[in-house]
Symmetry: C2
Subunit: 456 residues, 2 copies
């Protein structure tokens, strides 16, 4: 058999012990905050019925769903004639009935409808699981990646929005980030702007233009809107909004003046103000990170109220989180009228940010803490009771599994980032003591068992 070096499919990744430790650090931090805010974990299956997923992500999305081939004689549902006349796309439903999860939102909607009799509303759930997309892999884009979502359904209270802002604040500061922006907008404000511009039915092209403000500036946005047939007078209204800056309060004042003739616009402003009031009561410190950004139009086809997005300002990176309110999550499965609001964290991007900023904790709390050396069966017998005692005290410990040269054992300790090595030779056994080597500063002391426990 020829030796072929094994590999993994494009767009997938193995995670080494060090990478897992760092990923777990991020996930555990997020989970801890979700739980502190009353969110409970659920999990859904990796694959769903193909019919559950198709039609939910648009035509392009449908093509990126990984389909699972039916087991056994999967061709049996087809005649030979059909086989030669159909194309790949038409053939899919005949040979595939299951598909890999594409996101966590559609499975969550399916879960809520399927288990509606067992759920007490409001239902606050979080879910951290991989999703799969047959996208072209590129830097930072994978075919298998984790999503971290928290959603509450069945409550229209804007306290939920404020708490999600507090969750972002607490997770990101816990991870050591010091300069980030939690941006808030409201779809109703955008609808209000469209209304005062007399372009209610052209909300989408308007927000597409506004969304480019960062890149093309106020004049660029205005040029694009003019060429799209927006009138001069209306545009001057918009200019005031786009050029407004300063505090959230002064921005809101400009919005109030400009949108005073739009009922929906006023409603959007009211919602933003109510969210901000809740944030004030929860924790005033959050305001340092909060920005009103009316160019924020993320997922506009989907969100119906508040829109949120989080960016770090310490490194160049796209958004590391986002979310918003949607008024009809479960309508796709026949249960309408259930409002919800949710956020997600971009764990892979947060990983890259923490790595670049050197924010991962230096010393691991979960790896092996003590390695005991092994030179022969006598030292082994001397070491084993200590090994058990260390573990009984909750200390991760290993005895090198067989007699080996010191250098080899030290290499092992270094490769695993083990901070302490206990050396046992004839002298130590005779005196009933241990030599403890600190692998970080290289120091070495002879200690009793009691002192050893104190030092590690």
């Amino acid at each position: 058999m020829a030796k072929i070096k094994p590999s993994i499919p494009k767009g997938t990744r193995d995670f080494s012990p060090l990478e897992m430790e760092r990923r777990n650090y991020i996930f555990d931090t997020i989970k801890g905050v979700f739980r502190k805010f009353g969110y409970s974990e659920i999990q859904t299956p990796s694959f769903e019925h193909l019919t559950t997923l198709t039609g939910k992500y648009g035509d392009e999305g449908d093509q990126l769903i990984f389909k699972i081939l039916n087991s056994g004689e999967f061709l049996s549902k087809l005649t030979k004639g059909q086989l030669t006349t159909v194309d790949s796309k038409t053939l899919i439903p005949f040979i595939s009935e299951r598909a890999l999860r594409y996101d966590l939102t559609v499975p969550f909607a399916r879960y809520v409808v399927m288990h509606q009799n067992d759920i007490t509303l409001p239902f606050k759930r979080f879910q951290i699981q991989p999703v799969w997309r047959a996208d072209r892999p590129q830097r930072g884009r994978y075919r298998e990646f984790y999503q971290c979502d928290a959603d509450v359904v069945g409550s229209d209270s804007l306290l939920n929005e404020a708490e999600f802002i507090a969750i972002y604040y607490e997770v990101l500061t816990s991870l050591g980030l010091r300069d980030f922006s939690i941006k808030i907008n409201n779809r109703k404000v955008l609808a209000g702007i469209a209304e005062v511009l007399n372009q209610t039915d052209r909300l989408i092209p308007m927000t597409v233009a506004i969304d480019k403000l960062d890149k093309i500036g106020v004049e660029g946005v205005i040029r694009e809107l003019s060429s799209n047939g927006f009138g001069e007078e209306e545009i001057s209204q918009l200019r005031r909004i786009l050029e407004s800056s300063g505090s959230v309060e002064s921005q809101l004042q400009v919005l109030k003046d400009t949108l005073k003739t739009s009922t929906i616009g006023q409603k959007g402003i009211d919602e933003i103000e109510q969210v901000l009031e809740y944030v004030t009561l929860l924790n005033k410190d959050i305001f340092k990170f909060l920005e009103l950004d009316i160019t924020l139009a993320r997922g506009l086809n989907y969100y119906t109220g508040t829109i949120l997005e989080v960016k770090t300002n310490e490194v160049q990176m796209g958004s590391i989180g986002g979310g918003g309110r949607y008024d009809d999550l479960t309508g796709m499965f026949g249960t309408s009228g259930l409002t919800g609001v949710g956020i997600s964290f971009g764990a892979d991007r947060i990983y890259d940010v923490l790595l670049e900023l050197g924010l991962f904790p230096e010393e691991t709390s979960i790896g092996t803490r003590v390695l005991i050396t092994n030179f022969d069966s006598a030292t082994e017998a001397y070491a084993l009771p200590l090994l058990t005692k260390l573990r009984t005290h909750g200390v991760s410990a290993e005895l090198y599994p067989s007699a080996a040269k010191l250098k080899k054992q030290m290499t092992y300790a270094n490769a695993k980032n083990i901070p302490f090595v206990v050396l046992i030779g004839e002298d130590e056994m005779r005196a009933g003591i241990y030599t403890l080597k600190n692998m970080i500063d290289g120091s070495q002391v002879q200690v009793s068992e009691a002192d050893l426990f104190k030092l590690i």
Copy 2:
């Protein structure tokens, strides 16, 4: 659109908040012990190249692998003629290049070979991830289920075997199990028995017969062997072994006498004795749960030395764990000579056992601990600073997100198993205090903020 109640594919499961809490309790216990023994977590992708998986699990296994349909124009690799002449099985490699993980062992072998330059041996890893099998679903058998594996490769020390026994002991006692058996055998002992029976090349039919001892008794086993052409004299040797009982020591003595002419048999006995000696040095308490079981033949095509299996004696249930040593894990990927030993936990079965025995912790440590009631915007404003303070002190807390009747809020607290409810009405606000209701015993007290923190 017709309302179709959504469902999930056969053999898959949703996990509710309560089920997730219980599953996490099991997984966290196992992970904690793995880490204390120096095992590090890795993860591998959910899907591998189809060629990585096929041919590793036998013909039947190959058919149970879930294959992923290629994306896009997956028929383009086929001519129309091929399409009408091939059968389903022949067609697979033309339309599928990826497949879902079937177990954690083959991906681990692939990982070790692929990353051999980055790994320091011995490599101690654990892995807890779902696997998928297109098996016919039945009670306790799922198409998606989690495996919990720990393996060490690159060390032939029998200390590893002893530590796995200690890991089983610590995990199962930590979970509250009080009566279980950790069974040990060695493939070399079975080979030795075949040798003294002059049936070296008929090891498999012999162990298949011995494996039935529990069901058909000594006479049944002997009858089956006789009808398979094993001679009278040899069988009487075997009878002595099968009928040996009592302590592990006395069983080993019978084996030593019976297998004295077999070199490989003696080697197997030596290995078992060495493992037992290590266990003695690690923790004598383990012996209460340890059994020598020469009928244990689990995975015989695979294991080359120690064989382990764990059963609970408190409820009727198949094995809840097993493992053993294999001398050529990575040979399938072209790197031979790497010995390894590993174990796994049957998490789904352990879940059922703990549920049946009522061993899940009553009070959750991770769910919401305090719900604050919400009757109007005034109580809301009074409640929010307390809510933040509770969370700052690490207490999971929620404010009911909008004003609602008391009954509705109590129903919510009960559904989420929240142990404490803080009631805030006009009296409380005037006096600057809180009414704290204990949801378990129903008692209710008026307390200051400081006392509230003491009581919860």
